[in-house]
Symmetry: C2
Subunit: 341 residues, 2 copies
């Protein structure tokens, strides 16, 4: 049973548990600084499929299947599957859910999808509507690039502010009770549902800057709603603001009286190094998806981190909204994870 | 607080209430048999906007605003807004939510979105995560046609099995407590989360046939999970199977031992008559959206109907999945509404 706290924050009174997680990364992502943390790294981004969309579907399917297995369950034990991706009509999530046969709720929050699915999935469990659900998100450089930008074959130049869509997927199983184990139990404590913030940015190569104010709004609201200070958390991680957006977020949060020290980082900055030529850093649902399900999950399991605030960030523009003169709306949802024992 | 019943059904123990609803229909829809039931009928499908996408955004915004007002609330009283539409990246819902400033959860279930948002919104309320939420869905003939089919200017011929995307929107406010009023209170009783059913149909002009097996699966599962028979309900309404799909659904349900008599109907059949040249009938998120929020809501409020099962139906193909040889995955979510008093 849940409750509401402050303006936008929901509290999961029964503290749903993360029972298992699986992260998959593409070739380039697997060459980056997080290589040791991903559960699986592709040796070829096609993953043996004939189209990029089918490769992304396969990543999601594998992530859900493996996370379910690590949770000591089979896919038929899942009460629901909440998933989203960047492909029009959620192609990757849909075909994954079709193949797995689990009751499916499709979500679209652009790159904010990982925390949207985690916060809704935790509601299902905490509200008593199901015992175990899978929450997941994915993106693939080759599906996103051709849909949102230009054909890959075009080989266009990218400005330094551009970000690199991560090829990756993350899946987590949320449930009432964890397996008996020696490691700490990971619980979902509370979440803050973001509202859309649009500061009028129209440059589609400035996604980090467009999303940063939404991340700041959600983090500040979360802290105000819960009465917490940033040092309540061992880590505060935004989704894919990358180098420019995270610098803006840090500055804006400081101005609001929430100074962010070393505990603040951004998954888009963590996943690549500058020598990988990804310009501002990583983006895509699979960025925070694979980093949460890989790096963050393991840090919580090992006891390295005890209290983490995750804030996936999404730029909710469409492929035609900029052509109609619209600016870029940003959104961010925050989920607080805590270990027990 | 909720509970789970059977395989896929969730029970809302606190019985969230529908506090208000608003339906908008386009010009053609307003000339159809439901003209007396829509709260608002456009005199021009552009709704005074310069692009069709902006017209659809405005419909959604108006529907949410009016439904909120009828619920005796203001938009700032809403704890969350759950919405989806057919436009890539949920353009209509996103820009509506940006303008209204309410915490936003974007959903994609193709034409199943109205019951997806209603079932998730009812979870938010029943689970204690919020007191009042808006749930909505929209579609617009002119945005959908050019995205999924051909430019309107092309004037292509349509096969008899084709359906007509409804220009319309529906919004409902779900909350803990209804206003004091003389009419019956409308409560959300339980819901069945659909799984994806794909029987291998590849003809994109046979959407009704592609979705019918998913509707049948969800209805049969709902009845089995709850131990109810079809005559528990005064009306069982699918979303947009239209004439061909609803005939198939009726036949399949009969074969499964659930004969459907006059109480079964389909919103896609209800919204147009054959003289309107819409071929098999209506489709789109706005089809079940406007029919539920208009016709069904008013029938429950007046006491004409007491127990209704709504099953919005979605074809989860993407614009590129048929090009990659994929068949059409269908999904359907069911929500049971009951009146009290």
């Amino acid at each position: 049973m849940g409750s509401k706290k402050g303006k936008q924050t929901i509290v999961y009174d029964s503290r749903p548990k993360i029972l298992g997680a699986w992260s998959i990364a593409g070739v380039k992502e697997g060459e980056g600084p997080l290589r040791a943390w991903f559960d699986q790294i592709l040796t070829d981004d096609s993953y043996g499929e004939k189209t990029w969309e089918k490769s992304e579907t396969k990543m999601l399917k594998e992530a859900v299947s493996q996370a379910t297995m690590l949770a000591g369950l089979t896919v038929s034990d899942l009460d629901a599957l909440l998933s989203g991706d960047l492909i029009n009509q959620l192609m990757s999530s849909t075909f994954m859910a079709r193949d797995l046969g689990v009751p499916f709720l499709g979500l679209y929050g652009a790159c904010s999808t990982m925390t949207e699915s985690l916060l809704l999935g935790s509601m299902v469990v905490d509200g008593g509507f199901g015992n175990r659900v899978a929450v997941c998100a994915s993106s693939h450089y080759s599906t996103a690039e051709r849909q949102f930008r230009l054909p890959l074959e075009h080989g266009n130049q990218r400005p330094p502010s551009a970000q690199w869509t991560v090829t990756g997927a993350g899946a987590m199983i949320v449930g009432k009770e964890d397996l008996p184990r020696a490691e700490p139990v990971i619980t979902v404590d509370c979440a803050t549902i973001g509202r859309i913030i649009d500061t009028g940015i129209k440059d589609v190569n400035q996604m980090g800057a467009a999303m940063a104010p939404a991340a700041v709004d959600t983090i500040a609201t979360h802290l105000a709603d819960t009465g917490r200070t940033p040092d309540h958390y061992d880590a505060i991680l935004t989704g894919d603001l990358a180098s420019i957006g995270s610098r803006i977020a840090r500055e804006m949060l400081g101005e609001k009286g929430y100074p962010m020290d070393r505990r603040y980082d951004d998954c888009g900055c963590m996943i690549f190094v500058s020598s990988q030529d990804t310009h501002a850093g990583g983006s895509g649902c699979g960025c925070s998806g694979s980093v949460f399900a890989g790096r963050v999950y393991k840090a919580l399991r090992s006891g390295e981190l005890k209290r983490v605030l995750l804030i996936s960030t999404g730029a909710l523009l469409s492929t035609i909204s900029p052509q109609q003169g619209e600016s870029i709306p940003g959104i961010a949802h925050a989920v607080a994870l805590t270990t027990e024992g």
